[in-house]
């Protein structure tokens, strides 16, 4: 996801180190065997990171691999391979790209020629999660098992209370935390069975503490983007999310944000912004980006539009803002952090009739980051983040302000529906709306 053919120059030099992270994560899976470590096919935002890290299990991130293939515009052969065994093109393309790759690796006995950075290793286990987030998170491992029949699949289940304006989520949080904790325990048991090692609970506690620190540092760093002109925008954030998203619970992730923070502070001091001049500030309100067209962010920047904030890949919050109950059990802490991460916008949503937590989150960012408009990306192969966008956009206008909104349509991996000229035309039209809105606002 960090390296794309259409070279988007990153605005921060720290972000330039991201390809190293991505490559490092992929090659760690290949090296694991020599180091006697187990590899787990795993998913981001599943709450299982610290368990894997504390047990020296090397995560093989299929989503990252597919994103890299997309960014290199080299996913088609894998998508076609999956399609050849009747996986529909309408399914999640992160999954089908990865399954196509796995199918080829099984047939060949090694990674297919030309796989980005040597591809990913055959896993020793697959860890899924049937949460509220997405169906592929538990269907994809099951589908892959069809081609790697000896690789065990474990699916945990981590839920959070659904938004219900007539109910009180505080009343049910403890039930959800109890369940998430039990499911995390099941994950630990499974990992112990596969690795043949017992969990080192002190090490897990230390890993969880490091994650908390990383969450805090990430938010402190990103909040520097509130500055005018913003020193970093979403185009970079689609790179700088990598350590938080794929390397949570590691010192490298923490150190990365130390460097990024220092760089942003320096930029602010020097008055250096992403766009010069910065004319419009816009929120990336939802959606995964088209990895093959990250250059579009530069197109925005070139016209004076910056994205100081995005909802996508901001999978954390300052821990103190979540007001987590004290516990000595690291799994219970993960469970509380998980549940509260989702529910901590619920109270705000209740205060604004007709609002929803997702919209409340967007409003909070618009206000905090001083934005004039919102861009959503509706990727056709992922329902998880992209179904419901129209509702969010409409609600935002209704309960907040009639701000300019652009809903772009495309995909994350599948380039076939992308048309650069059309996209740029739509962006131009949106910028005109922004200009009119700002002029009216004065």
């Amino acid at each position: 996801m960090a390296e794309e053919k259409k070279g988007r120059a990153v605005a921060t030099s720290t972000a330039a180190s991201i390809p190293k992270f991505v490559r490092g994560n992929l090659s760690a899976t290949l090296k694991a065997k020599e180091e006697g470590k187990k590899v787990a096919a795993a998913f981001i935002a599943d709450g299982q990171d610290e368990i894997m890290r504390a047990m020296d299990i090397v995560p093989a991130w299929g989503e990252s691999f597919s994103g890299v293939c997309a960014a290199k515009r080299d996913a088609e052969k894998y998508l076609q391979k999956a399609e050849s065994d009747n996986f529909s093109r309408s399914l999640c393309t992160y999954a089908t790209c990865n399954i196509g790759f796995d199918m080829m690796r099984e047939e060949l006995g090694h990674a297919p020629e030309g796989a980005p950075w040597g591809g990913m290793a055959r896993p020793d286990m697959m860890l899924g999660n049937g949460q509220l987030l997405c169906d592929p998170r538990f269907k994809w491992p099951q589908a892959t098992q069809h081609y790697q029949q000896d690789v065990p699949v474990f699916v945990t289940n981590m839920y959070y209370p659904p938004w219900d304006p007539s109910g009180d989520h505080h009343e049910v949080e403890a039930l959800y935390v109890k369940y998430a904790k039990e499911e995390l325990h099941e994950t630990v048991k499974f990992c112990e069975k596969i690795t043949g090692k017992k969990m080192d609970w002190d090490r897990l506690a230390a890993t969880v503490e490091l994650s908390d620190k990383t969450w805090d540092l990430f938010i402190d760093t990103y909040e520097l983007r509130k500055h005018h002109p913003t020193p970093m925008d979403t185009g970079d954030a689609m790179n700088t999310m990598v350590p938080l998203t794929f390397n949570l619970g590691t010192q490298e992730a923490y150190d990365f944000y130390v460097s990024l923070k220092a760089e942003l502070e320096q930029k602010i001091k020097d008055g250096v912004g992403v766009a010069n001049p910065e004319k419009y500030r816009v929120i990336w309100a939802a959606g995964l980006p088209s990895w093959f067209a990250l250059g579009d962010f530069q197109y925005f920047n070139g016209k004076g539009v910056v994205f100081p904030v995005e909802v996508t890949y901001r999978g954390c919050e300052k821990v103190e803002r979540l007001d987590l109950p004290k516990t000595n059990d690291p799994l219970e802490h993960i469970a509380w952090r998980w549940v509260r991460y989702w529910t901590h916008w619920y109270d705000a949503a209740k205060k604004r009739p007709g609002s929803t937590p997702k919209v409340e989150r967007i409003i909070e960012y618009i206000e905090d980051y001083d934005c004039d408009g919102a861009v959503f990306h509706s990727a056709f192969s992922c329902r998880s983040w992209h179904a419901g966008i129209m509702q969010q956009a409409a609600t935002l206008k209704k309960v907040y302000k009639d701000i300019p909104i652009l809903i772009m349509e495309g995909d994350i991996v599948d380039i076939s529906s992308y048309n650069e000229a059309d996209t740029h035309n739509r962006i131009d039209a949106f910028i005109e709306t922004l200009a009119a809105y700002k002029a009216k606002k004065g």
Binding site: D85, N86, F87, S88, S90, L91, C92, A95, G128, G130, Q131, L132, C134, D135, P136, F138, K139, W140, Q142, A143, Q145, H146, Q149, D150, V153, V155, T156, N157, Y159, P161, P162, W163, D164, S166, G167, V172, L175, Y179, E182, E183, E186, G354, T356, K358, S378, F380, S381, C382, R383, S384, H386, A387, G388, I389, M390, Q391, A394, T395
Partner: protein, 387 residues
Amino acid sequence: MTDIQNGNGLAAAEKFYAQYGSRARELKASGKKVIGYLSALGPVEIMTAAGVLPIRLKGNVSEAVTKGDAYMETIVCPFVRNVFDAAVKGKYDFLDGMVLPHQCDSIDRTNETWSYTLNLPYWHFLNLPHVADDPSIAFTQEILRIFVRSLEKYTGNKITDEAIAKAVAAHNQNRKLMRDLYDLRKSNPPLISGVEMMKVCVAAMSLPVEESSALIESVIKEVKGRAPAAGDPAAKRIMIIGDQIDDIAVIEAIESTGAYLVMDDLSTGSKMYWQDVDATPDPLRGIAERYMRKLKIPTTFIGSAPTYQGILEERFGHMKNYVQDFKVDGVILFIYKYCDPYGFEVPAIKSYVEAAGAPVLYLEDEYSTSSLARIKTRIEAFLEMIA
């Protein structure tokens, strides 16, 4: 419901199929509350125990999505979009509320689109897990309890364990009757056609449980009276696998080729009826176990067996049984576009069922008759191939 007397069940089924929801409308007029649900995960026992009428919502394959387009993305499952469109157009204006189960992204991620657009007096998102291990069953019990409480609050009536147990018995009886009717498809030729069966299944999901049972009983009597069945004993016997097929269009496409549709593994068909709820001291336990463990739907992860073959048996073993028991010659795997839960199973189901001795035709389609001609051509080619 006075017009269901012994012997005219098929005509009644036809009526309730053609005028879907007409009984709910009548009952609503007489003061009963009507709650819509959307899938095989709708816990009908609890709704029945609450004294409300549960009605499974269906769309209309002959009607294009128009109004719904303004609210719901085209990447959502075409069935969900079509039903939503029907609701937005006022086809379900008799609803007092809905319960949306946590089933798949197409449903979960549009929960707010539904609830905020329709703005019904009662709304509940039933947060069922995707996993069926022990903590998940205990969790499901609690999720069902939350549902019970919310219905109590809405109706103002206490839902006792006795009422739930009674509703469980009534729905189990309904399921047994439907299984008895399915049995009549085992003969060759089957005593009831696939088209007739679809109408009965659809009608049954729009009625209060006792009336649904009376309807099925009546159909059984009528159909039994037909024996011995007429028809071509050499015609191919087909089974259909899929989720929300609630219209005769596809079934007609199959049977118009001369084949018999003798069995289904649909969430509107056998999936609703094959598994009973066990009577348990806490009746919610039995309900949780049925919906999570016994109901084999792709949105619940199953995979506890130690070998892959064992896992396949756990997931799809019932399909093999159907192939054998209903003497199935060929299977049509009919999956909607944008359905991740079923879509990711296609290669596994196809190879498993083919190993069980029935060739499989995989069709990906919209919830629409617009593609029916193409579908029919594919079915004809398939039947020729297995001839």
